[in-house]
Symmetry: D2
Subunit: 359 residues, 4 copies
Amino acid sequence: MTAKSGQTDSSLDAFYHDLTSHDLAPLWTQSETLMPPQPLPKTRPWLWKWSTLQALGARAGKLISIDRGGDRRVLSLANPGLGGEPFATSTLWGAVQYLGAGESAPGHRHTPGAIRFVLEGEGVWTTVDGDACDMHAGDLILTPSWMWHDHNNPTDHPMIWFDGLDLPTVISLDAVFFEPYQPDELQPVRGHNISERIYGGRGSLPRMDGHLSPSSPLLVYRWADTDRALAGLLEAGGGPSATLEFINPTNGRSVLPTLSCEMHRILPEGPTRTQRKAGSSIFVVFNGVGHTVIDGMRFDWERGDMLAVPSWTQVTHEVFEPSNLFSISDAPILKALNLFREEHSDSPQEIVSKFEPRI
Amino acid sequence: MTAKSGQTDSSLDAFYHDLTSHDLAPLWTQSETLMPPQPLPKTRPWLWKWSTLQALGARAGKLISIDRGGDRRVLSLANPGLGGEPFATSTLWGAVQYLGAGESAPGHRHTPGAIRFVLEGEGVWTTVDGDACDMHAGDLILTPSWMWHDHNNPTDHPMIWFDGLDLPTVISLDAVFFEPYQPDELQPVRGHNISERIYGGRGSLPRMDGHLSPSSPLLVYRWADTDRALAGLLEAGGGPSATLEFINPTNGRSVLPTLSCEMHRILPEGPTRTQRKAGSSIFVVFNGVGHTVIDGMRFDWERGDMLAVPSWTQVTHEVFEPSNLFSISDAPILKALNLFREEHSDSPQEIVSKFEPRI
Amino acid sequence: MTAKSGQTDSSLDAFYHDLTSHDLAPLWTQSETLMPPQPLPKTRPWLWKWSTLQALGARAGKLISIDRGGDRRVLSLANPGLGGEPFATSTLWGAVQYLGAGESAPGHRHTPGAIRFVLEGEGVWTTVDGDACDMHAGDLILTPSWMWHDHNNPTDHPMIWFDGLDLPTVISLDAVFFEPYQPDELQPVRGHNISERIYGGRGSLPRMDGHLSPSSPLLVYRWADTDRALAGLLEAGGGPSATLEFINPTNGRSVLPTLSCEMHRILPEGPTRTQRKAGSSIFVVFNGVGHTVIDGMRFDWERGDMLAVPSWTQVTHEVFEPSNLFSISDAPILKALNLFREEHSDSPQEIVSKFEPRI
Amino acid sequence: MTAKSGQTDSSLDAFYHDLTSHDLAPLWTQSETLMPPQPLPKTRPWLWKWSTLQALGARAGKLISIDRGGDRRVLSLANPGLGGEPFATSTLWGAVQYLGAGESAPGHRHTPGAIRFVLEGEGVWTTVDGDACDMHAGDLILTPSWMWHDHNNPTDHPMIWFDGLDLPTVISLDAVFFEPYQPDELQPVRGHNISERIYGGRGSLPRMDGHLSPSSPLLVYRWADTDRALAGLLEAGGGPSATLEFINPTNGRSVLPTLSCEMHRILPEGPTRTQRKAGSSIFVVFNGVGHTVIDGMRFDWERGDMLAVPSWTQVTHEVFEPSNLFSISDAPILKALNLFREEHSDSPQEIVSKFEPRI
């Protein structure tokens, strides 16, 4: 759409000025930006090194104390494409949380839903609505929307884990509510790992009474179970890789209505097939060594590294030893809104550059 | 509604005769039978003794051979209230199936859905759509609607298990389809326990592609898992009894759209609270000793005994050692049709008589 | 499966006797009856003539009075295949209900769900939970499960309509509950056609608060709307016939969870294509003249006639003037239980016999 | 959380610098901004006057021609709180579209879903996947996600309508795909108002074959139907106001999975009760005169005015003649993600200021 012939520039300028002064904007000057042929995410493919995260987490532990009135000792992945926003991707919060020996992070609740994935350590728990969920390496812990939670480290060593949240989306929907736990900093503990005993059956559930939340009532997913399930999938599928999704056992769906959590086991048998999907992800390397190619850029990774994958980018993994990658994504949101798309390609992806992390 | 005053009996008789001869029936003479204040099931509370079932199964094994063209060596529970129909309750088929050493039961499929619950034995498998599902004591095995299945006993000892089907309901809906497997008696086996490796994760599923059946893709539920889940429920609930339902992990619902399977663990701490629900059940005693009171009649049971529970009867269990009761019910049907009701009473139920089984 | 060679008949006889005396039945002697290759409904294709129904209804009006403590003046279609049961098909109750001038049928409620389809008349209403639903020719009125209902005829002429219920299925599930309205015979009326004003929007609903029943909250479906919708479908589809299903506007599903109600408009342009489906139906001729061929038997019908269609029979309609057929079926039940099947054939069905109704 | 005592400012500064240089951000310095006690929308309550929109639309019609390669003559509501973004609220696009006499807007499709609400005019249609949907005053027209659409004005007068889209949310999810129609500018027309004839039944649907999209297959909602439904609701409810939601007739849900469309009829009987809900809305005054108070600021409106309502603001309407307000909101998204909240208050809201529109 263009100016009609014979229109002077000055009448157009006046028109655009009048639009702006009446809080209006013309579509025709910006329609390609607003509606590109395919997604143009600001999120950049990006890698954070575990060595860096760990070192800076430890410095935070020394410099920043936990007090009531403050919040968490959390370093969030700030994707450089997002103009200073503390988000790993346009829809996902990713962070490392550092809890010093003997410390507790006080209780609160909020509408954004969160998951914790434990990279290493032992002896720490997160209390969720009174249920103290013990955290071990490889475990996934949920703190669903609007459930009270605090973190507790009674050991003599610090603990560090990955935090994943749907926060950017809940902010963009203007739907964040937050409440500190009162009157104490920590909730009373009803017991340890209660949800695991109630909802952790393999192929079974307690006979249900009443209505359940769309978030999973099972709050902990143990590495030993994940490990066994991946081994089973690889045996049954015969493939060089297997992916499982952690699920809400009461409906077979994603653990939170806003977040999908997956574990990928990849064997050193060449690159996985290339795929892309609408919506973004964060990968966290639980163990192994390999690289991921995103739209032609190669990211070399090892244990603990974290990787942001933007929407609709082409992704291939290749490993040099058996590797386990944990990931979170916004796929449940896109599926709920009928916006999900996915494509696979069996042809390999050409590597055109290599990412150099800042160490 | 009564005959109008002044009407002679003869004009009424002629009228009723004319109705019948025109394939019509008056509602007013039968409305209380058709629509009683609460269900009047023909199904009678009934108990079959394991000692009887086992002995007659063994006799069937000696007398009746398995050949192509025939079917299964199955003794069905024929509730005496149902007028000779081979059904345990008005909606449920229950039976013992006996497979001799070295025998196989040929493949077929049918729209009625079936479950197998193994009371004792080892070394036998049921092949379901090519997946050989090994059967051990306490395991639950599914053969969902319209999936090919055959049973195989390569051992040198006979095997006997409980069969549960939704057959009476599918018959009443005129929806039974049946097809023998061709051209061989047995399906080729793709592997053993494949579904367990794919769908048997604890809190996880393989990343899904495409549409799933409403029946569970997980075909085997192991006693070890059931045992652990019940222990967890008792720990968490603190109660004298716990009930779990086996579920389709892809949707958290009953294993078949027509059958619910449950396991009840009851400790010797007095009678359970009395309850009744619309729809019928069959209980199979996996182990333990106790009795069940149904509408005031006491049924003493021990390992292997089977018990029919009619709709809307009052039920209390009491055990004399820790006991595990497996059960099937039609609850998913009643729930799907918005006909389910359930009532609990904390007051004990008076025992007014005792059932004497025919041994 | 046959007796093993060498077994004497007498040992077999003794074995079968022992089975019976222990309330057991052998599967192998009856497996073909229990599990036929395809449904073997006892329901027979059958036709009831309107002239007969009307005349016998009028005789019932003269002979049988409505009093408290009685029930309805209802003549139920008793399919001759069902051994004297007052059911039109194995799953469906069909009947004509006759309400004399100035009469009321007292209030009650029951778990079986019912629909009323009005063949002729005016000025009568059914009160459903206080909402007086006016009944005109061609209207469909719902009295869903467990809702209070009474019928009222303040006019000086009798009224007769078709009753359809899911009663046989609810009986077979032992889930019938019934309660008379107390203390009066009739409910107080909150207003007329309230549900129509609240839920009768075209493409709209009131903004919802809270949970809705699986039965439709819209209780009346007017002939004028049905007529217009069928005309629209024929225009858009261009075909010689069109079928609409009445729906619960809150979920787009069948009006009751157990009953589907449809209207079929057929133009005199040759036979419709042959189809069969699992589950049974009752057709009620609202107007028109034609015949229906069911598994080769021809049923000639005209206005008001009623036709039972058994499960899995081949059905073709042909009309001699534009005709409207109302029908009810058990399809929602079969679909909910994953038992529904349907087949179409474009080749015509051969007529091998003609049904002669008893007039 | 604060710096530990004894830490010098310089070590903290160095630490924060290192975080930034490694693409990390501390949570503790920004947690109150990220997680406020309740939503802090950037969207401001705002009003656009119809007189302004119409005048600027007409100027756009004179100044800007429609050509292939361009897009739409659309003036988008640019909420002054959103820093220059052309969005009415943080999640909703609202705009007026101006189509001159004899013009057509070329065909395209995109993943964002759109609705059109017609304020005035006649004789124009939007073609959606070949179905030419005629547009009259008060009609709602859908162009769901990924369906081809073009707009056509064969009349001799310009036409102007309201466009509503879920665009901001689809952008924030990086899920926008766009495709121009090829090779012509306009789609071939299969007919006019086809969806209305197929899916426009009142309480009925065509018998369904196969799978339906989560977007409504009914593409037009007529003012006459809306008017009648609102009158019915007011009669039944007796209240001073009534709200209906336009629905997808195949599932009873919102017309698009991402957008809810409602019509509110308010009578001049005092202020409506105050309410607030998570998620934002745009109101478009179809007719009437009144004002809306949002968090204490009064917005006076008349026919054609448009009003942005931010998340979690308190809203009361009051009218001086019977008025009809059309609105769109993001409620289906918040509900799908379990983030919806709503509150009502019967006490009136104090007016503390008055909005002065720029005219």
